[in-house]
Symmetry: C2
Subunit: 312 residues, 2 copies
């Protein structure tokens, strides 16, 4: 098993995590959460989405949040960008990374952003045009890269076609998104390895969901074939409002805990990530699915005296 | 990645799953669940535990359940056996496999079965003596094989010492139990590989818990180093009453779903496993943590017409 020595974790909780939440968080609370995430050492944080507020009301404050982000030299902030208008707003607000993508399934594209795949690909070109000559850069995503909940299997050739299109727009990091949790470890290894061979100058990242419990197993498969860029959501917050029964991204701190146990560096402080996860729970007023949040890290020992005694 | 073509799943829900439940299930309900598990194709089912009813009241009916098990030629039934007395009762009740073990941590042994490790090892000898010359056989378990919640790290040499002791008692299948979810994929590969090299005539099985979300990642690590015997709990039922904040075993049907997606045969019918998981939920009157139970299998497609439409 050849594992990377170090990985980069991109936190998507404030965007992918919050977009499905019914609780509308005030911008000040979002900024508190983002600050807690930066305090834990995260250097890539997806902070909001520049989508029409009628589509995702949670992001009506996208410009307000983006303009007030706690600026630190080491942190790049990203925002989800569906179209040219979103890109213009994000560039104006000083967003570092314009996260934009297209799904490898026509049906999913039509339901998710009301465009077919071809139109989605042109939209990516427009976003790249807006970014050109500004400090903002494009980071690509190929969604439903391991399967579509409506169409089923997604051909590798289609994923590669969209990946190649994104490479052509000048992005050097493209995430394969398992939008509705249809990937398995073999599929992850197969697709990542083939794409990395075909596009040696582009980093293949993984954006995984835990819909069917396979999130960390799929992440392990990615680590084993050399992936160093992973997205996660603090506390396991999230889901996709337009994907049936989708649950959240892999939980950032659970993934980090796994990496640390395996000797893989993340540059992150697990205790402070857990603080951020608890803050997210407090802000939303509900428990999140993160497991380390409940059980504590594996190296936090228990006092035998405090254990419930057996009766006999 | 070299994966086995076929694995054997041992279901422990009726024992490891139920032992922590506050709801006392009538024997008839336990037998309904066991029958549903056998209907799904499971050939190894841990049905009960022959422990003192004051220690685990849920198993006061151990003999009644064991004697009424739905006998099928292909199914071997196991029971958890803590001592000689339990072994005698299990043999009398016609149990096929006496599941017995010892923890690789003195503190854990003392809290779990009120014996130190040395006494626990002698107890295993007594159980093997009871089984000798009967149709029942011993299946071994080394508990806390990847760490103890009280003592922390557990030395490989100690795990090997107990494993070797069990081999000496004539068992050809020994599970390494990650009793409180302290394993990680690297540790699984390391310990399994070294034990398999040292004990080529004994199968190394894995009994994993999902305490820190690593259950299926650890199972994947096991598959990748050739493990073919895995324990799981239907619906993810379970935990350990004497292990702080331990959550259940890996979920049987989620593990099976992963195997099938990767082309690994299990001989099991996923839909009927899901039926059994739903029955377990009904009997206990609560939701279980299984993920495929909520999301459905990855190959069950959704109707785009039934999807909530975007507003814009």
């Amino acid at each position: 098993m050849s594992l990377p020595q170090k990985v980069t974790v991109s936190e998507v909780g404030p965007r992918d995590g919050l977009q499905i939440e019914k609780t509308m968080l005030p911008a000040a609370d979002k900024l508190r959460l983002i600050e807690a995430l930066a305090d834990a050492g995260l250097t890539r944080i997806e902070a909001t989405g520049f989508v029409h507020p009628k589509v995702i009301p949670q992001f009506a404050d996208a410009s307000e949040v983006a303009e007030a982000l706690p600026r630190r030299p080491s942190v790049r902030y990203a925002a989800f960008i569906p179209n040219r208008r979103g890109a213009e707003r994000a560039v104006a607000a000083g967003v570092d990374d314009l996260k934009c993508g297209v799904a490898a399934s026509d049906t999913f594209n039509r339901l998710n952003v009301r465009m077919d795949t071809a139109t989605g690909m042109r939209s990516l070109e427009e976003i790249a045009e807006v970014a050109a000559g500004t400090p903002s850069r494009v980071v690509g995503v190929v969604a439903t890269a391991f399967g579509c909940p409506y169409e089923g299997a997604v051909r590798f050739e289609e994923v590669d076609r969209l990946f190649t299109h994104l490479v052509g727009l000048g992005t050097d990091l493209i995430y394969l998104a398992d939008t509705t949790g249809m990937a398995d470890p073999s599929a992850v290894k197969d697709r990542v390895t083939r794409l990395a061979e075909r596009h040696p100058d582009t980093r293949v990242g993984l954006h995984l969901h835990n819909t069917r419990g396979l999130g960390l197993a799929n992440a392990l498969a990615g680590l084993e074939c050399g992936v160093t860029d992973f997205e996660g959501s603090i506390g396991g917050l999230g889901g996709c409002p337009f994907a049936p029964r989708a649950v959240g991204n892999i939980c950032t701190e659970d993934f980090v805990h796994m990496c640390h146990r395996m000797g893989i560096e993340t540059g992150l402080d697990l205790d402070r990530l857990l603080d951020a996860a608890r803050l997210a729970q407090d802000l939303l007023g509900r428990n999140l699915p993160g497991m380390v949040l409940k059980a504590g890290p594996a190296d936090a020992l228990h006092d035998p005296e405090g254990t419930r005694e057996k009766v006999d």
